[in-house]
Symmetry: D2
Subunit: 268 residues, 4 copies
């Protein structure tokens, strides 16, 4: 039976090949994680074990895709930075975002069930993620994107820490806490935390304040050179080096230069 | 701390809004399911329980997204037809494909673990899916797309059924079976199956030969009218009707007119 | 000398192939025609000869591109409707819009210099056009697009006719005329024109009120059938028929059904 | 008369905003210039006056669009390099390519009629151009794109010079000349030219061998800094500096570093 009569329908497919020699960042975001966190009774303001599940899933992603050089996450979101000459799925946007969303979701389920054997995920409230890909043409814009997310992590965490401590330690209602924080600056929140709740924000865990960084660490980086000038054998060797590279987890500042300066391969 | 200095990085995001008033089909494909089927020892040529897992996951998708009117699947792939005036995620391509890939994967894990409690999915070999979205401007092209997949199902299944029966019933090696089928037409394969393996292909289960159709069935369809002319209240009523509609599973012919003629809402 | 070292730069090219089986409309818009009309002293509110230049240029476009079935224009803009199965430049968006902008501009220069030998176009104020392509998936949306432009033509012309007659016939200043028309409905403007300026809007030329329609007229239309089912010879015959078709100019209503009903080839 | 009923058709418009902070190159190509050159009897292999028309038109483009820093052309094509932070038409692709194609065409007509008053352009054979936009993420890729075109110019010109001199000076037919050049290297062609035609290729005009470079020259370049950090006033000053910058024409090597090193503003 000939199928050729219908094959013309393939002409309707469209594909977006992400611009070569740009830095691809794939960002996954939890879908409806506010309700998810209520359903599974997350600790407030931060649930350490739930954050560990995110970090475990994200680490599995980095191990799965050697083209990922760096991941940064906080709350229910994670960014994955692909190396500039990455040719994964020929840089096809739909393949990249759907595959990352799929793997992240399944890794999350596995990590959750391992961390919380007493409350495995239920069909009625599943952890799922959407994903988007953004390309950045140069180092500065990549760094500013990661900086933006880390500043955002800080702003959100300071607010949430203040809000929940006013409730849990200062005995306020949600509405009162909201009122108390309205219009306050960062310094005001620090003071409110210290004076009204007895909490020194500086002593809060770095994972809450800075988020989590997962990075492919090379022992001896000598530079990859221009991808298109490598022989097939050199490419395979570079791929193997990426697979073998150690994957480390930090809760570090990625806004300042130092983090990037000692890891030149990230933005090469 | 002001985050505005970095916010400009959002300007680099690009979004593809799928053309209004076209039929969106989202197709999910299992990633590396050949190895997956070997790892979990699928029956050959068809593993009924594994197909049931796919169908259960796909049915959960139809229930989850009321904009899906029809799903068709076979092997490790499934197509989801969204209604023409669907505005899910504002028709944003990346949101649609990443969300469908994510939900399909997690539903599959849940369905698998329910079906195979003796061999739950393992971290070293996870079921994942990629997804793509294609838009079709009119009824004919939608129908031809679904016909293309059903013909493909038939061609593949006839081949696989012949191949595996030559091995399992006629005692051939894989190489011999491949040789025996080289250059054969459908009629030849039917005869080989009947004479050499004692199998009448017509008696094979419809799920293998035709794949699986999951459809939203309306009791009393009166037409939705032009979406943009509906009041908010009418839209909510239509949405509610979609949510309440019965979801049925068939192994039916979707190439001929009949299936579509009795369900005018599919291509309206 | 080998050029291959640099050829990789072609990989950066991106192309948007417009969705098959949709109606492509290419719209060209004069750039800075307000200043253009002042520079060349157009009559107000309508300069018949300048409109003729537009129409002559647009007619040359229709003759140049047999895939254009219909053109509609008013003021400094023109829409060109391509037949649904058109494969001009493989439906590549950039080719289409740049080519249409280029031809329209040069045809305009030629038509202008023929119409106004006493004031040929000058380098310091050239007539140029930009262009955009929009695809419409079905007949209704195409018709609504053309209706939108014709209604717009009417609204603008009624305002301009009132404004300029208040100045030229009722002796108002520009500011006074603007004031007099502020907040008026169509019926008010008709009355102002009649009572204060002695102008019966109904008697204004149709070219001003309705714009201009240029259409490829087929003597004996029998339907083209599905493009993809035509043989090469049938395609050539159809192409030849398009080239030979009479090209007519009207100032007709294209909002009502009649215009389209008697020309089924436009939306086939 | 309300027009709002039809305005929804604007939702079908799609726009591609070219990625920020990338180098936009717009390339215009003459349409059917082989026939054009025959119709107007161009000298072979190079028509100096016709090349001058191209260069005059391209220079007018550079003067018209202060965002253009560099133009390079040969034969019937021209590349225009826009500055990296250019925001012309909000970087909308269709606006850019259609506008450049339109202006180039009309400038060409004006330049042609000025250069060839004895044979002005005729309606039956008009000079038109298509245009495409390509974005390059970094300096190296921009330079390689321009290098690619200049090498191509050299290859084509050496071939054409050899081909036509074999005909005009060595008395060959077109077929014989083609035969004589088949499989020859650059060095062979140089020798053929010298021995059989008495032509020393090195003495050919640079305009033929290297094409034409039009560049915005700044007297005292001090760097523009990051665009997004400039005040409105600083932006206006920079814009004014671009408008006032001298526009020079060369027939220079743009493959080697020197050209670019002394003009740091091109790739900043």
């Amino acid at each position: 039976m000939a199928n050729s009569r219908f094959e013309y329908v393939k002409q309707f497919e469209r594909e977006n090949f992400l611009l070569p020699q740009t830095h691809i960042v794939i960002r996954v975001d939890g879908k409806g994680f506010h309700k998810f966190s209520e359903h599974y009774h997350f600790d407030k303001p931060n649930d350490v074990r739930a954050l560990n599940v995110m970090n475990t899933a994200a680490r599995a992603m980095v191990l799965q895709f050697p083209d990922v050089l760096l991941a940064y996450g906080d709350s229910d979101e994670y960014l994955f930075l692909l190396r500039r000459s990455c040719d994964l799925f020929e840089r096809r946007e739909m393949k990249l975002v759907s595959t990352f969303a799929s793997f992240m979701s399944v890794h999350y389920v596995m990590a959750w069930n391992a961390e919380f054997p007493e409350k495995p995920v239920e069909s009625s409230r599943l952890p799922t993620f959407d994903a988007r890909a953004v390309v950045y043409p140069n180092s500065q814009t990549v760094r500013d994107y990661f900086s933006w997310r880390q500043v955002d992590c800080h702003i959100n965490n300071l607010y949430n820490t203040s809000f929940w401590n006013l409730i849990l330690k200062a005995g306020m209602t949600g509405q009162q806490a909201e009122q108390a924080l309205m219009g306050t600056l960062a310094s005001d929140k620090n003071e409110i935390l210290f004076k009204q709740c007895g909490v020194n924000y500086n002593n809060e865990p770095d994972m809450f304040k800075k988020g989590t960084v997962i990075v492919r660490e090379y022992e001896a980086w000598t530079g990859e050179g221009e991808e298109r000038e490598l022989t097939t054998r050199q490419k395979q060797r570079a791929e193997k080096a990426r697979r073998k590279a150690k994957v480390s987890i930090y809760h570090a500042d990625i806004i300042k230069d130092e983090f990037w300066n000692v890891r030149p391969w990230l933005l090469e």
